[in-house]
Amino acid sequence: MNDDTILITGMGALSAAGNTIAETLASFERGARNAGQVTLFPTKLKYPAFEVRNLPQQYALEGQRTLSLALAAVDQALADAGLAQKPGLRIGVCMGTTVASQLNDLAFYTAYRERGAAPMTAVDRFLKGNIAEVVSRKLKARGPALTVVNACSSGTDAIGVALSWLKAGLCDIAIAGGADELNHVPYCGFASLGIVNADLCSPFDRDRKGLNLGEGAGVLVLERRSAAFKRGKHSDLVLLGFGASCDAYHLTAPSPEGVGLKASLKTALREADLNAADVSFVNAHGTGTKDNDLVEGNTLAELFGRDLTMLSTKGYTGHTLGAAGGLEAVFTALGLREAWIPASAGFVNRDEGIALAPVRENTAIRGRFAVSTSLAFGGNNAAIVIGREASQ
């Protein structure tokens, strides 16, 4: 048993699929797709979205919804890990986001544009809203804090950063994942790219017509086995590997050959010391866009074979951007822990152009290793390998 193995000792998640892990699993089990018209901001666009409903009141920070979501997921994960506030502990905090990194408040900007002056409220929220910094300060932690803004792979990349920190000894415990709110500005931006579905998304389906936006947060507590052991914490879930690579191809389109995704997967498997055949399922990025699903599906088939058990959970959460990697890491770990994965919501008809298809039904999982992938704007690709240790 390696003392430097990185254990997953806590998990937290909230999304349209549920405000807790238990609620999420229940949604998965019954195939619930909690999408609807946007209620968080006024819009004339009619694209459905996956909003988080009934966010607990103690997390309702005005104008800082991404931070609210992040803090709710962090608290869940800390509680799951049995970690109360520990001043002075070497805790790294790495969180991915897209929305919280930008001062894109329309009311503030409208006032500035019209009058050359604007109240500083939105600015102050932005300046005090760096997620990693807020979480680190809340924990009174010592150690690195970093907010990753790598578009849709931010959450997976943040987990990869935390893995590097732990392996390099920069901290004993790391809190990592992603958070993003459904925000008016990217809602318009994604619509302008022509990749948003007017109906519910259907990842990997022959007739897929694009993605739905969503929101949420997913967080892991990671720690070296030796540190967990010292505080009497055990977990059989482990983070085994991470890989990231850039296509160096195009700002908004993935490399048609999946160059970067392939490299990321190979790196992650190498770090995990596994072969592709060892992987029991892949939780794919699977947005429901034509390009992403085509490239990702065929790349996964090339590496893992056409019989790979694969799903996309975006049919339950929508595309939560910077949160996606964090949420999907949690869902992947849950798949191993619960020994089943949900049906890939929205998938009906196989696309003959894609060499494999996702699962249509809730599916039992017997293996001990799984992969979660993220593909991002800018040509970024990232993959993590999660494992479940054999019973002693």
Partner: protein, 357 residues
């Protein structure tokens, strides 16, 4: 981890020769920029002239990129060129780009399209360029680098945190080289915000050793370092430690401390309490302006000092606290330099650079 090459772009020009020249010449006056909210309609800024960049081939590759991305790509390309490491595109190279505010000018441009044309008629091109990791993506494409590519933001600690992560990537062999750097740009909205929260230096002079009261002059630019574990003939220095929000374990006091003081905090007195009386103190923000990622330029200056074994006098040396200031330029014997960054909450980061042996 060694610094193998450095690339900069700031008001003084593109590349390390321009940066060295600025360090040698000392303080230069900022330029004036139109500002509808400023008294007299103008305010001082340190502004980059991208049109003067000599590397037109790189600019041609990224002609659709916004100003932020162009600055980032030019600085990154300079760092690669400066390192003289051959065939980098065939090697294992990662990119870590740090930014405090990202593509805010492009983001506000996108908001303009929402306000002017409505939600359904916004510009996809502007939206694409407004995403935080667009600049890193342009670097990757322009330089054909396919390793892990990451964009991070942590306000004042963005650059130090990026460098710290680069060190772990090299230590864990995630890649053989890392191109790490930072970029931030001027823009009227954020300058308005800064003017509401901070004093502007009316005479255009940042006084980094005054500490309180402070005054700032907004700046912009980018700096990148090519990092690797090998020691090349062009290498500048080694980076033995980086501590962010943690205590650095240092066996020795540095010969020189470069502080990030630049008037971006109303009270920068924390720096006075952090510098050792045994070290010579300097700061170069008066050359490139006030910016949360200004530590990238101080690190570039430190690397140059160690490579050249040369002092560069503090460009503005007003010294009311009587610190031991670097008040002359000239040959020196320097073993170690700390680049120190603090924020108003007391969080600090220290990047230790040391001479190669």
């Amino acid at each position: 981890m060694n610094i193998l090459g450095v690339g900069t772009i700031f008001q003084g020009g593109v590349g390390m020769r321009s940066f060295e020249k600025a360090l040698e010449q000392g303080w230069t006056k900022p330029s004036d920029m139109d500002a509808k909210w400023a008294a007299g309609g103008k305010h001082p800024v340190y502004q980059v002239n991208i049109d003067a960049a000599p590397d037109r081939a790189v600019l041609k590759k990224i002609r659709r990129a916004d100003r932020l991305s162009k600055m980032a790509v030019l600085a990154a390309a300079e760092a690669v060129k400066d390192s003289a490491v051959a065939d980098l595109q065939h090697k294992s190279v990662g990119i870590i780009l740090a930014t405090a505010f990202g593509a805010h000018v492009t983001t506000f441009g996108f908001l303009d399209t929402i306000l002017d044309f409505g939600e359904a008629a916004v510009s996809p091109t502007i939206f694409s360029n407004s995403v935080h990791n667009a600049a890193a993506s342009y670097i990757s494409t322009a330089l054909d680098i396919k390793g892990p590519t990451l964009t991070v933001t942590q306000f004042r600690f963005s650059f130090a945190a990026a460098l710290q992560l680069a060190a772990t990537w090299l230590e864990l062999s995630r890649c053989d080289y890392v191109l790490a750097g930072a970029v931030d740009q001027l823009g009227d909205v954020l300058e308005y915000v800064a003017s509401r929260k901070l004093a502007v230096a009316a005479d255009g002079k940042i006084r980094p050793f005054s500490f309180q009261p402070t005054a700032h002059v907004p700046g912009e630019g980018a700096a990148f370092v090519l990092l690797g574990n090998e020691q090349t003939g062009h290498a500048y220095c080694t980076v033995p430690s980086i501590a962010v929000n943690d205590d650095a374990e240092q066996a020795t006091t540095p010969d020189v401390i470069i502080i990030d003081a630049d008037g971006m905090q109303p009270d920068e007195s924390i720096y006075a309490s952090q510098v050792s009386p045994a070290s010579i103190v300097t700061a170069y923000s008066p050359l490139f302006g006030s910016m949360m990622t200004g530590g990238m330029f101080n690190t570039a200056a430190a690397a140059l000092m160690l490579k050249r074994q040369q002092y560069y006098a503090a460009p503005v040396a007003d010294n009311p606290r009587g610190l031991k200031i670097m008040d002359r330029s000239g040959p020196a014997s320097i073993q170690a330099i700390d680049c120190l960054c603090c924020d108003c909450s007391g969080t600090k980061a220290a990047i230790r650079l040391a001479a190669l042996r």
